[in-house]
Symmetry: C2
C-alpha cells in the first residue's frame, strides 16, 4: 500500500500556515501579497515533487504530472476568509502534493498521474470559486473585469500588478483528467459528535439566498398607539415564526435554514421601523425539498400580504445553487480506503458547505472526503483538526487515489 | 377676550422656518450656524415684542417680561432633529412670542407677565433637554464638558466659538414664574383620527430603554445541523413573541412598546449568529404599569435563561424616566379655553413623547396642549399641521394664558 510521509505532510502544512499566520489563524486573502508569496512557495514545492508547476493567469497554482493520463486531479484552495483557519482549503492542496510525492515513491504507483491544483479565490475575496469556474470553461472574463475586493481594489489591476495578467489560464484537459478528489475539513461538528474520523461525501447541498423586505410606516415610538402601527420590524419577527413552522414541516435532519442578518430602519429606539430586511439562506441535498421550501416561502409571502397592513417583498440575493451529487464510484473508493485504514471510523454524509468540487463536477466525476473539525468550528482563527486525523485523512486519500488511478488505468488499457 | 394676530403668528413661524429650510422640512441642529442665526433673530423678535431678551450661556433664548410677576412662562424649543419638521418645538416658542404681544395689546392683560423661552437642545444633538435641565438647577456642567455631537464637535468648544461661553444661564426665579405652558404639535395621529383640534395633556408618559443581548454560538450556516445550533438571532425572535404576549396582558390602549433596532453578529447570510442584540423601549403614563412591565420582562429573562442553550442579559440603555403629571388646575384653564374657542373639539390625552415640560414640572406647575399632526407624522421633513389648527391652537393658548395669569394675579393680590 502507498504510504504517505506524515512528517513531510505536517511540515508543508505548517510552512504554508506561516504565510499570513495571525495568532492560531491565518489571514491570506486571495492575491494579497502574502497569498502571492504562498503561491510562489507552493509552486516551488510542486516542482520539487516533480510536477510541472505554474501560477496561471488568475492565480490558480497548477501542478501537472509529467506522467501521461489518465490523471486524477486533486485540489482545493489556499486562500482564506478574512479571519480564516489554517486548514480550510490548505489541507486538501497539501494532501494533493503529498499524494503525488507518495505515489512517485512506490513502484506500483510511480507511473500514475496526479495533477494538483490550488484554485484561486474559493472564498470569494473577489469572486467565489473563480479558479475552478475558469478551469471548467465558465465565462469568467466579465467577473475578472468587474470584480473588486472590500478595499475597492479591482481584480484586473491586482492581477496586472502581480504580473499574472496575460498568462494562460489552467484548463480542463478532456481525456487526461478523468476524476477529481477534494479532501477538506468538515467545517461542522458531526464527525466529532459521533466519534468518526472520515466523512465520505455523498452530495454538496444546494442553496437559496433571499432577502425579504417588509414595508410598513415609520412613526414616533411614543405617540403612535399599538393599534394603528404598521411596524415593519414586528411584522418581520412574526413572519419568521410562521416560516419556522412551515420549514419544520418540510425538513429532514440535514435541512438547514438561517436568518443571518436583520436590518430595521431607521434603527432607533424611539422610532417604529418603517422598513425591515431579513436575509434568509436555506440549504438541502435534495433538489425537490429545496423547491418545496421555495414554494412554501412564496405562499407565506402571498398569504402575509393578503392579511397584513405591512407588505413583504421577496428578492433573490444570489443565484440559486442546486445540489451536486458526488460520483458514487469514486466515493466507494474512498469508503474502501477508509475501511482499510480506519475500520468502522467513517460514514457517508452530505457537505453543508460549498466547495470547488461542485464546479469541477460539471466536467468530470468528482468526490470529496472530510476529516473532523474540532468543535465544528471553521472560518475562525481557532479552526483546527487533531494531527492524528490530518495524517489519517491523508493516508485514506492516498490509498483512495491509488485505487482510483489503478482502476482508471485498467479501464484505459 | 384676548385676540391673537393670525397673520403675525404665521409670518413669524414662516420666517423661523427659513432658517435651515430643506424642502418642506428644516435642518436646524442645536448650535449649528443656522440655529445660532435663528436664535439671534428670535431674540430680536422678543425685543420687538417688549421683552428683555438674551441668549444665555448654553444657547437658550429667554425673553423676560418687563412686568412684575406672577409670571407665566411659555416655552418649547427651536432646535430640530437631523431631518426635522418646521413646527416641532418652533410652534410653541412662536405661540409664546405671539401671546406676549397679544396680551400687551389688551387693557385687561397689558400688565400681566409672560416670559418666553426657547430651551436649547431639546432634541439632544449634544445632550437632550439641556436648556430646561439647566433652568431648573440640574447639574449640567459635566454634560457641557463631556457632550459632543455626531460629528465629534464638543459642546464646550461650540459654545466658545459662538461667543456664548461664560454668559450667565437662565435660571428659574421662584416667586416670579408660577406656571409653565408648553404648546406643541401632537406628533401622533390621535387628534386627527377622531377629528379633534386640541389635546389637553394629562401626563407625559414614563419610559424604559433596555438592551437585551443574546449569546449563543457562532457557526457555519451550512454545516451546523439545526438540532445542535445555539442561534442567538433565532432566540431573539422567539423571545420577542413571549414578550409581546406578556406585555399585551399588562397594557392598556395607551401603552406602547417598540423594538427599534436588532443587530445580529456577524450579520452574514452564511453564519449562524453568535450574538444578537435587541433594543426595547416601552412607555406608559402609569408608574405602576411601567413597574409591572419591568418585572414581567425580568421574569421572562430568568425563565428564558433557565430553559435555553442561548443566554440573554438585560442592560439599561438609559436612565428610567418616570411619568410626569401635568398640573390639573392649569389643564382645566386650557380645557375651558378650548371649549370656549372650539366647543367640543378637544380632548384630554397623555403625551407619548418627551418634552421640556417634564423637566420644568420639577420646579413649578406645568401644562401642555397639542394641535393635530397631519398623518401623525413628526421627526420628518413632511411633518405639518393645518394652518387653521395652528391659528386655533394659538388662540386657545392665549385665552388659557390670560385666564391662568388673571387667577395667579388674583391669588397674589
Amino acid at each position: 500500500m502507498v504510504k504517505i510521509d506524515p512528517d513531510r505532510l505536517m511540515a508543508d502544512l505548517k510552512q504554508l500556515r506561516s504565510f499570513g499566520a495571525t495568532g492560531p489563524g491565518v489571514v491570506r486573502l486571495s492575491l494579497s501579497p502574502v497569498d502571492l508569496a504562498a503561491r510562489e512557495w507552493l509552486a516551488g514545492r510542486m516542482s520539487d515533487a516533480g510536477l510541472d508547476a505554474r501560477i496561471d493567469g488568475i492565480g490558480t497554482v497548477f501542478g501537472r504530472s509529467r506522467n501521461p493520463g489518465p490523471a486524477l486531479l486533486i485540489g482545493s484552495h489556499t486562500d482564506t476568509q478574512p479571519t480564516g483557519g489554517w486548514l480550510d482549503g490548505a489541507m486538501g492542496v497539501i494532501y494533493g502534493l503529498e499524494i503525488a510525492r507518495a505515489l512517485g515513491e512506490h513502484d506500483a504507483t510511480r507511473n500514475l498521474a496526479v495533477d494538483v491544483a490550488s484554485w484561486i479565490d474559493e472564498e470569494g475575496t473577489f469572486s467565489g470559486l473563480l479558479g475552478s469556474r475558469s478551469f471548467v470553461g465558465e465565462e469568467v472574463d466579465s467577473a475578472i473585469r468587474d470584480a473588486a475586493n472590500r478595499q475597492g481594489e479591482r481584480l484586473e489591476d491586482v492581477l496586472a500588478a502581480a504580473g499574472l495578467a496575460g498568462r494562460p489560464r489552467a484548463q480542463f484537459e478532456p481525456g487526461r483528467q478523468l476524476a477529481y478528489l477534494e479532501p477538506h475539513i468538515e467545517q461542522g461538528g458531526r464527525l466529532e459528535a459521533i466519534g468518526k474520523a472520515i466523512g465520505v461525501v455523498t452530495t454538496i447541498v444546494g442553496m437559496r439566498e433571499l432577502r425579504l423586505r417588509f414595508t410598513g410606516q415609520r412613526n414616533h415610538a411614543g405617540t403612535t398607539p399599538m393599534a394603528i402601527r404598521r411596524d415593519a420590524g414586528a411584522a418581520l419577527v412574526a413572519f419568521i415564526a410562521t416560516l419556522n413552522d412551515a420549514f419544520k414541516q418540510l425538513a429532514d435532519a440535514d435541512t438547514v435554514w438561517t436568518v443571518g442578518r436583520i436590518d430595521l430602519e431607521p434603527g432607533s429606539m424611539s422610532v417604529v421601523p418603517g422598513t425591515a430586511d431579513m436575509y434568509l439562506q436555506f440549504r438541502d441535498a435534495n433538489p425537490a425539498r429545496l423547491q418545496a421550501m421555495e414554494s412554501a416561502l412564496a405562499e407565506l409571502v402571498r398569504d402575509f400580504n393578503a392579511r397584513n397592513a405591512v407588505s413583504v417583498e421577496l428578492q433573490t440575493v444570489d443565484e440559486p445553487i442546486d445540489p451536486v451529487s458526488m460520483d458514487a464510484t469514486l466515493a466507494e473508493h474512498i469508503a474502501r480506503a477508509a475501511e482499510a485504514v480506519a475500520p468502522g471510523q467513517w460514514l457517508r454524509m452530505p457537505s453543508g458547505a460549498a466547495h470547488d468540487a461542485q464546479v469541477i463536477a460539471r466536467c468530470m466525476p468528482a468526490c470529496m472526503m472530510f476529516v473532523p473539525s474540532i468543535g465544528g468550528v471553521s472560518h475562525d482563527f481557532i479552526e483546527d483538526t487533531a494531527e492524528q486525523h490530518i495524517v489519517l485523512g491523508c493516508q485514506v486519500a492516498a490509498s483512495a487515489a491509488a485505487s482510483m488511478l489503478l482502476e482508471l488505468a485498467a479501464k484505459a488499457a
